[in-house]
Amino acid sequence: MHFFIDKNQLIDAIQHVNKAVSTKTTIPILTGIKFDLASDGLVLTGSDSDISIQVFVPITKNDQEIVKVIKPGKIVLPAKYIVDIVKKLPGSEIEFSLVDTFSVLIRSASTEFKLNGYDPEEYPELPQIEEDQVLTINSDLLKSMIRQTIFAVSTLENRPILTGVLWKLNQGKLSFVSTDSHRLSMREANVEENGLTFDNVVVPGKTLQELTKILEDDSIPVHIVVTDNQILVKMENVLFYSRLLDGTYPDISRIIPEKGKTVMTVTKQSLLDAIERAALIAKNDKTNIVKLSILEELLLEITSNSPEVGKVTEHIKVNQLDGEALKISFNAKYTLEALKAMDSQEIKIEFTGALSPFVLKPTDHDRILHLILPVRTF
């Protein structure tokens, strides 16, 4: 293996791949990044056996030469070192050449590293995925859908299926659902209808977190292939593989109340600010409890009381109110995260009682829904 490569291009590629590399793994070779040089370019692979990321660096990009291949070959280099070495090299071009069996010489300007690697043949194969049915979605839309649901996934492994986001596709309608059993987030979007449907595809939250870091903020198409236990997201020059979670996602259809007994619309920012202030007092408590009471005449009272710290009371105006008066306590963190995940200016909250779940929705469309379970106070 012998090649020259543009430093900045390599840094970009290596940083993408490094997102899949875990320092804590029981399989030692997975602490490395695989370099696979062919005549058309360099393929980098990183994996933690859950997520695998493959980046292709073509020999030319926009008519500029990026990689100069002298002799193809492969090696696995320890991610811990190669990432930092590449970043800190002085020149704008880096030369890699294989020496001994599994070591490379890395030269740039007047610096020369010799780095020991691993046998590339021991590196696990990436899953083979048949790409007959492909879902196409714009990168920015996918990214915001993930952002609007990922915060509600469970971080505890005691119910592994809840650590993922449920993906469903039916008649061109793609929906994401996540819940940690205290709150639930749902986001829907229309995608190009091509007869493809799937259900019970549960993508690990950690996967999605890494994926959003790689997804571009532009409306360029991204192709998604789903199999029984794997998902492949194809971006330009980047392949992102992940396992899917095993098991059946709980049926959420009956959890969401049909219609609220008390429905109000409120300006999102004013509610968000008020709860954030109330949370300052509530923070002391692990449960972050904030109390919301509907007073008369379109007035809402937000309070929080912490016996040790003090108390906060705030009134905000409600734009519209239907139904009975209500007092409800909830976890400020859940509500804030839900509010922040909504882009609309005005939102609608539907309550069904002090001890029942309430739903937050934007007023301008119904593609986002957040459900929060109240805190019972004694």
């Binding site: 320092t23 804590k24 793994t25 029981t26 399989i27 056996s49 859950d50 001994d100 069996t101 599994f102 046998d119 021991e122 696990p124 971080t155 505890l156 492994e157 005691n158 592994p160 650590t163 690990p204 396992r243």
Partner: protein, 612 residues
């Protein structure tokens, strides 16, 4: 007129009693020891109210001749040694000739004895050491001593006795220990008519352990036996899952004498190493036999302390023995479901099976060795065919040698870990924290963090042994002062310290200056580690890096290990279990927590009532 008078004997005895007869337990100890020295095979101890009301010790030993009965109550009257030389080869428990007169001096004592089987015996009664009554009675062979109202004439001592429970606790402790050291004597201990201990004197130490600690503890004891030219060690240690909160259950016997010895106790604990959790201690009954001339037991009247001539050697032997015995064992923690009664031992039959896991080892193993002799493209052009031939031959030879090495390595791995932790196949993961695995012997739960920690710990220890030693120079040197005696030893061992990266120079008489110290010492803990290094040199004359850096390595290993609540794929679990199997100690993490818990198929079937 001079002021010095020679104390009369009674007062002298009372003073001596203060030393020998500290509490009822010491009376029991002295009397029982006398019984043992008299060659008894049955000793009965009966106590009332913690020994304050009455203590009765009866045996079937030699008994006392009529002439000896009164002499026995004189100070320094003993049958156990005769000349000064005997002091250096003491084989009996008592020898000072102080016990009986001291006890008699502070109590009302009745002694009944007979030396023959024909029923002729003698009874004497003493009060505060004065003979009040002497008469012939009918008595079987042996001796019975009844002590009543101890300390009746020394009210000060009586006042300072602890609660009844404490006193009886001490007595039980003594009798337990004596029965452990004399498995051939049948001991019976009765308190207020309640039997507290009964051993049958059948020479089986394990039966005594059963009597004291119960059947379930006895079942999990490991038998030890080891001998070198000076010492013979035998006894039992508990498996690491059975521990106690203090060191009291480590019983040491030297030639049958119970002793307390801090360093030997420490050696036992060290032998357990990381198998024990912090602040937990094993149960151990260790008997050390040695030539009486190698110990000095005449250190203190209670004879609990002894001095050894070859203390270091003994400690090392003890530690290594325990370690090696422990390493042979399989310590997968068993779930004890009300200790299922074991049936008679069955003949063990094991069907050997194909090992499907070998593949892992092969992919990892040969490769590393192979790269060492992959022929490098030679820089110089090959001069002639013959030299090439030669080099090929050499290459071949190398190859063969390496191949042998490789075989040996594989074998040694097998021998090392075979039968310790069985082959396990991961079934699934529970709570993102535990691996559920099955093996031939049933179900196993493995703590993934502890397992990975163990693997990393051993890896890091090996790495430490290979690393180049580096020292950090100090701009402002550290000065250390030591007492004269230690300073001399440090002077002697300066070279060892310097070889280990501690640049130490004498600085005046008792002071030393440290100009550089090993790099691995973490900031802010310099003095702590330097002191530990020096203490090691002082105690052992060498430095054991492994011991010194164990804690540090354990904490770095912990940090680089997978945590709880971390999903693992099947493949990762397989590799983890396989790596765990290859470790030297796959049973506990470096902090002593268990790694593997085992449920046998039978236990599970019992839980489901499939078998009863």
């Amino acid at each position: 007129m001079g002021k010095i008078t020679i104390l009369d004997e009674h007062i002298a005895n009372q003073i001596a009693a203060g030393e020998v007869v500290e509490r009822p337990a010491s009376i029991v100890k002295e009397l029982v020891e006398n019984s043992i020295d008299a060659g008894s095979t049955k000793i009965e101890i009966e106590i009332e109210e913690g020994g304050l009301t009455s203590i009765r010790v009866a045996d079937n030993g030699d008994g006392l001749e009529e002439d000896d009965v009164e002499k026995a109550f004189l100070r320094h009257a003993t049958s156990k040694i005769k000349t000064g030389n005997d002091l250096f080869r003491i084989t009996t428990l008592g020898f000072r000739g102080e016990a009986l007169p001291s006890i008699a001096a502070v109590s009302r004592l009745t002694l009944r004895t007979s030396t023959t089987q024909n029923g002729q015996g003698l009874e004497v009664y003493l009060e505060a050491g004065n003979l009040k009554k002497k008469q012939a009675i009918a008595f079987n062979k042996g001796t019975e001593i009844i002590i009543r109202d101890i300390f009746f004439n020394t009210p000060a001592r009586l006042k300072y006795l602890k609660a009844l429970q404490t006193e009886i606790g001490h007595i039980i402790d003594y009798v337990n220990r004596l029965s452990l050291s004399y498995p051939y004597i049948a001991f019976t201990l009765i308190h207020n008519n309640r039997p507290l201990l009964r051993t049958n004197g059948d020479r089986e130490l394990l039966h005594v352990i059963t009597a004291i600690y119960g059947a379930s503890v006895a079942k999990s004891m490991i038998k030890l036996e080891e001998e070198d030219k000076d010492f013979k060690i035998s006894g039992y240690i508990s498996r690491p899952e059975i521990t106690r909160a203090n060191k009291n259950h480590i019983s040491l016997f030297v030639n049958g004498r119970f002793i307390k010895h801090y360093l030997l106790t420490q050696a036992i604990i060290k032998g357990f190493d990381t198998l024990l959790m912090v602040n937990r201690f094993p149960i151990a009954v260790i008997n050390i036999e040695l030539d009486p001339s190698l110990i000095d037991v005449n250190v203190h009247p209670a004879k609990l302390e002894v001095r050894f001539s070859k203390e270091q050697e003994l400690m090392k032997l003890l530690e290594q023995t325990i370690r090696s015995y422990l390493h042979e064992q399989n310590f997968v923690r068993q779930i004890d479901l009300n200790s299922i009664a074991t049936k008679k031992e069955k003949v063990k039959v094991e069907q050997s099976s194909i090992n499907f896991y070998r593949n892992h080892q092969h992919t990892n193993y040969p490769k590393q060795i192979v790269d060492q002799f992959i022929p490098q493209p030679s820089e110089q052009p090959i001069a002639s065919l013959s030299s090439m031939q030669q080099s090929i031959e050499e290459e071949k030879k190398n190859f063969l040698v390496e191949e042998d090495l490789y075989d040996e390595n594989i074998n040694s791995i097998e021998a090392n870990s075979a039968d310790r932790l069985p082959m396990l196949e991961p079934v699934s993961q529970f709570n993102g924290t535990y691996i559920v695995a099955q093996g031939e012997a049933g179900l196993y739960l493995i703590d993934q963090h502890a397992a990975h920690e163990r693997i990393n710990y051993e890896k890091n220890l090996n790495r430490m042994n290979e690393e180049v030693r580096t020292s950090q120079e100090l701009l402002v040197p550290i000065t250390l002062d030591y007492p004269k005696s230690e300073a001399l030893l440090i002077h002697k061992n300066l070279e060892i310290l310097q070889n280990n990266g501690l640049e130490i120079e004498p600085f005046g008489q008792n002071s030393f200056i440290i100009r550089a110290m090993p790099q691995w010492i973490p900031a802010n803990e310099e003095l702590f580690y330097i002191d530990r290094i020096i203490q090691q040199v002082l105690e052992h004359g060498e430095i054991n890096m492994e011991l010194l850096r164990k804690d540090l390595i354990a904490s770095t290993s912990c940090k680089t290990s997978i945590k709880a609540n971390h999903y693992l794929s099947k493949k990762e679990m397989e590799i983890l279990l396989e790596d765990l199997r290859k470790t030297d100690n796959p049973f506990s993490c470096p902090h002593g927590r268990p790694i593997v818990i085992h449920f046998s198929l039978r236990e599970i079937e019992k839980m489901f009532k499939r078998v009863i």
